[in-house]
Symmetry: C2
Subunit: 388 residues, 2 copies
């Protein structure tokens, strides 16, 4: 089994770009990834592309061949859709493809365009990640669903809004130096607490924004990197995926995310590392409470302990295990189909030492990315390690 390397990463600015087409956004990310990798486009053997709601946002399905054309590659191109984990599964299959020796160079990433739609249509579009028959028609939207999960967590383990406000403040602080982030401004704990409610106990700064953007990674085999003198110091050493029931009503416990537990267990075992080895993590904080679930699935925190991790300084930039140094979905932004690729791109930059926040993790050797779909009915976890 060959070693899998991230040879290059490319991101667009995450934010409001309603005037740009999806293909323009993805091409920008892909071309930046090729430049970062120093890998010629002609060497790309497969394209794995994540997108969630293009049918609604751009009246465009069948986006994979379109994105291959936009990126200037001529190879099999496949679209993956797993709600907010779309790019996560695209990356996962790229890793497995390279490992299996099916290809030496695969581009993986994703794109989402959302701000071109009116806000009510975005809300309705995002809702297709939940169970239409048993949740959406009953009025559930994602802020409402995560609010239910947050309440269940508070009931089971304790915790309060102030704990969540610390997650928001941390991730906003992390986003300030990130040139790709949507919101590069600090938000204080008090500001987060005073913000208007969205769905109790979640207020404005507990929710990620609506974001346009794209991500792309050039993933190569160790042999390709060696042969072509490609500098690719970061390896993807573990990958895992998990599934849960869609509707919250069918879950055994609203304050646990077993799909992510499974994904993390698989990825750690695959990499041969454990939670104690993790130096830095990018996790799926679509809402502040989701970061708490992620920390517990990744076993960075024990059950019931994740809620206080930011407040106690464990996950802050200078804490034991910095989480979401990119700013996270919360402040960097969440272009749904691109997010899973963006997390790996940011971890790669952090581990290579060329991220604006790399100084906080100068000695980091192991990073973990946690990408979740909907209310974590699906989840993908990757382990990255400095290889040389």
């Amino acid at each position: 089994m060959t070693d899998v390397r991230v040879a290059g990463v490319g991101l667009t600015h995450f934010g409001s770009h309603p005037e740009r087409t999806g293909r323009d956004l993805f091409a920008t990310a892909a071309l930046r990834a090729f430049e970062d990798a120093g890998v010629p486009r002609g060497d790309v053997e497969e394209l794995n592309y994540g997108n969630f709601m293009g049918a609604l946002a751009e009246h465009q399905g069948h986006q994979a061949p379109l994105m291959a054309e936009a990126a200037g590659v001529n190879c099999p191109a496949t679209r993956y859709e797993e709600a907010c984990a779309s790019a996560g599964v695209a990356v996962r299959e790229a890793v497995r493809t390279v490992r299996a020796g099916e290809a030496d160079v695969v581009v993986a990433g994703g794109m989402e365009r959302m701000t071109n739609l009116p806000t009510d249509e975005v809300t309705e579009g995002l809702a297709i990640a939940a169970d239409d028959l048993f949740e959406v028609r009953a009025g559930v939207t994602f802020p409402g669903a995560y609010a239910l999960m947050a309440k269940a967590y508070f009931d089971a383990y304790g915790g309060e809004r102030r704990d969540l406000a610390h997650v928001a403040a941390k991730n906003h602080a992390n986003a300030v130096p990130n040139e790709y982030a949507q919101y590069r401004q600090e938000v204080s704990v008090e500001e987060a607490l005073d913000a208007p409610p969205v769905a109790e106990p979640l207020h404005l700064y507990d929710a990620c924004p609506i974001t346009d953007g794209a991500s792309a990674l050039v993933i190569v085999s160790e042999e390709y990197a060696a042969e072509h003198d490609v500098d690719a110091p970061v390896a993807v050493t573990g990958t895992g995926q998990g599934t849960d029931r869609m509707a919250l009503a069918d879950r055994e416990h609203l304050a646990r995310t077993p799909a992510a537990d499974d994904a993390a267990d698989t990825a750690y075992a695959d990499a041969g590392v454990g939670p104690d080895d993790v130096d830095v993590a990018e996790v799926h904080d679509c809402f502040t409470i989701a970061e708490v679930f992620a920390l517990e699935s990744l076993e960075i925190a024990d059950p019931g302990e994740g809620i206080s991790a930011a407040r106690d300084g464990v996950t802050t930039a200078d804490g034991d295990t910095p989480v979401n140094l990119s700013g996270g979905l919360k402040a960097k932004g969440h272009p749904v189909g691109a997010t899973g690729g963006s997390q790996i791109a940011e971890l790669t930059r952090l581990l290579r030492g060329d991220h604006p926040n790399s100084d906080h993790v100068a000695d980091a050797e192991v990073g973990v990315a946690h990408n979740a779909g909907g209310t974590v009915a699906s989840a993908v976890v990757h382990v990255l390690e400095v290889a040389e």
Copy 2:
């Protein structure tokens, strides 16, 4: 590299089932596949699911975990979307996953629900498989696009409407005994010629219908089959995928489908067989002219010779190489996201000898499936062989 077997296949009736939900349709196909395979659901390690327009037809994205739940499996579940080739890529990744030793039992298939929508919304929904900016907004729909391709073919190589009518008559005749087929009635060449025009030179019987339906395959490793005494005499020995530019205006030649040429070349090389070895084929005849393109991509016919294959009796049930003995998309129906899986299911039944049309291919050892997306901007080809 392990040998990959089709242990079981499951199909719903293809037709108009507006009152059934997507999850109901897929569960039916999956449970039939488990029963056919004699493989317990608990052994399933991954689910690869194809769906094209669920966001529009059922306001439902993130369908993979939903379908895992409906099928009663608890494992990583991923949705593939490649327009009309969605299930084709889902099967392809299942084959590669089993080959790589990542899993011993993978369920692959797909589902589409369409007839619950008004006809104009179906047409608009299908259009997202074309280039929205450069084709759909200019008024191109799929009958129009394939009509352009048919005209280009006639200009380049000759041929006439009567040739296409023979394709329709052949596929309708093949569908008569197929219990899963939408249209089990014969259509004569004269009836096809006399039918009302849709987009010249294509008339009513040159086009496939709007169809609801689902397909599922239980794909296993040879080792799993042997160990668990699973009867799985058909192997998937070759897989290939290709990509072309989306918009017809960007293609070099409207009467060639290089994405399928590439997919076929790759699949044949992968299997170590050639076109002369092919005994039976299921190809993507969304329009009669598309079957002609498929024959030429698969090299069952030389360029310019595919047009006369049905008329000359080469591809009829008792011809040298029977094509679309299932009835094809044309008469069996085309539930978009399910079609690629259905083709493999039908080929498996044909090669096992338990298809109502198996008598026509009693000695067949090699079958080929050709599944295309949109106007063949993407294509997937699989080679199946009788293994024991």
